[in-house]
Amino acid sequence: MSPTADFYGIAAIAVCAIVTMGIRSLPFLVFRGDKLPEKIEYLGRMLPGSIMVILVIFCLRNTDIHARPYGLPELVCVVLCAFLQKKLRNSIPSIAISTLCYMVIIRMLG
């Protein structure tokens, strides 16, 4: 049996690494000046607001809402986490409690 970890395997890892590093460097290469254009500075301040919401959707993108349990564990735990964070303003307990609930709920339903 030839393992995947031959020259091809290492080269494939290198390709993934180089492409990813390139993507990450891109904005830093494009906006090198000391003073950013006003529009870019504005985007830098506002874009995280939009991206965080999109990342929540990204994390939950493979949830199947058409079959049991219809995404209910995810919905309940996201709402719980949001509620805790609003009340406590401290993300460690919000994350810990909602994650624990999620792990318990998917075991009870599964």
Binding site: I13, S25, P27, R45, I57, S91, S94, I95
Partner: protein, 263 residues
């Protein structure tokens, strides 16, 4: 450039160091849990495909992207041609292009570690750096640096441990990756309460869900990011009336305390 150092000097250095470390650790803690477990999962996949711990370590150090690393293993096992791997990597990770906008000045303060901070910048670290602004008695440069180190360290450790011990794991941790989702939810809540305008968050909801329903889970992220970028530019005058823009701080997304335009 040195304004951070200036106000720190008002506080005793050891107290600043301790507070800075504590904050970096507290911010990294949920990420480290999630990274250990997801990294472990990646490590198991690597082990099952004949890779050794040092291959996992190399991947975790250089790629440092859960979604790509986990997608990469079966592709390598299927001997996918390298150009196809490159295109797939680009499509999976294109969202990172947007993360650097707003961090160019901040990361430059890291000096020699500037290139490292650019490379070690996955979703969750981006989330922490875009979240609550640091308090005044914390050194922001070291806090950023230590947060990056701890998260990256956990990711590398998880990947290596998974490759070494994945076949003898005695307990089932399914679902612990919800911690990453929960972390983003917390950041959204914090931003909802601190942003002067809620429109950036609504733009995210609309473009994210719209693209998800039209394009499906595998292809929605890049279009939704582009769409929200365009919407933010169109809505600029409503999100940020001209008077407010002059007063806002350099911290990404931080509210300046001024109640701008929108209800």
């Amino acid at each position: 450039m040195n304004d951070d150092q200036q106000y720190i000097s008002e506080y005793p250095a050891r107290k600043v160091t301790r507070k800075t470390f504590r904050l970096a650790f507290a911010n990294s803690l949920p990420i480290m849990f999630a990274y250990l477990v997801v990294g472990f999962t990646f490590g198991i996949m690597m082990y099952e495909n004949g890779f050794r711990w040092y291959h996992s370590m190399l991947s975790a150090m250089t790629i440092y992207s859960g979604s790509l690393q986990i997608a990469m293993v079966p592709m390598i096992a299927a001997r996918t041609p390298l150009p196809v791997m490159a295109v797939a990597s680009f499509l999976i990770n294109s969202r990172y292009m947007f993360y650097g906008i707003g961090f160019t000045q901040r990361f430059r303060k890291q000096g020699l570690l500037y290139p490292y901070m650019i490379i070690a910048f996955p979703d969750e670290v981006y989330g922490v750096f875009s979240g609550k602004p640091y308090p005044k008695d914390v050194d922001p440069v070291r806090c950023d640096r230590w947060t990056a180190f701890m998260c990256h360290g956990a990711w590398i450790s998880g990947s290596v441990l998974g490759t070494l011990f994945g076949n003898v794991l005695p307990f089932d941790l399914t679902g612990i990756d919800f911690a990453a989702t929960a972390m983003f939810v917390c950041i959204v809540i914090e931003q909802w309460m601190s942003f002067t305008s809620h429109l950036p968050l609504l733009v995210g909801i609309v473009s994210g869900l719209l693209c998800l329903f039209i394009l499906g889970p595998d292809n929605f992220i890049l279009p939704s990011l582009i769409l929200s970028l365009i919407l933010l530019l169109i809505l600029k005058s409503r999100i940020e009336p001209a008077s407010a823009s002059a007063e806002t701080t350099s911290t990404a997304g931080a509210a300046s305390g001024q109640e701008g335009g929108k209800a």
